[in-house]
Amino acid sequence: MKMGTALNLVLILLLLTTALLAVTARDLLAAVVVFSVYSLIMALMWQRLQAPDLALTEAAVGAGVTTVLFVITIFKTRRREEE
């Protein structure tokens, strides 16, 4: 297998794992934290697809701003998802 293909595969696996973890987490704070990892990996994927504008937007908005806004919202409301 080529090196580049292997790198892409590992990145896609990372994306899928973080997405599943963010959806299935009961602790909402954990879900937000994992979702910020998802945004970071997604920005890396955009850059590997040669779309640096999108990578910049994803890194700035997805990983930076929305994570903190989500955390503020969780602190103001409730942390655990109800069963």
Partner: protein, 90 residues
């Protein structure tokens, strides 16, 4: 050289995958934030490597934004946890 750089990027991404364990499982929230910081640093390095693999030097702006925003996220999250945390339920 490109193959070597891709191999380095591959090893670092596998490392990031393993570090994700700490971000996903970590008993306390601070552990998770630490895991995010580590995964983010590794992704930043992979961004720099991908810049030189693709030989498009202006992609370095993305790496700078990464470094700035990682600092913002980690410090802001730990400050919120420090100021108004709950009792930790691991």
């Amino acid at each position: 050289m490109d193959r070597f750089l891709t191999a380095v990027a591959l090893v670092i991404s596998v490392n990031a995958f393993i570090c994700l364990y700490r971000a996903a499982v970590g008993p306390t929230t601070q552990d998770r934030v630490l895991g995010v910081n580590i995964v983010g640093t590794k992704t930043l390095v992979v961004v720099v490597l991908v810049t030189y693999i693709l030989a498009e030097n202006y992609f370095l702006d993305v790496a700078i934004v990464y470094a700035l925003l990682l600092f913002v996220v980690t410090v802001a999250l730990s400050r919120y946890l420090e100021a108004e945390g709950w009792k930790e339920v691991p």
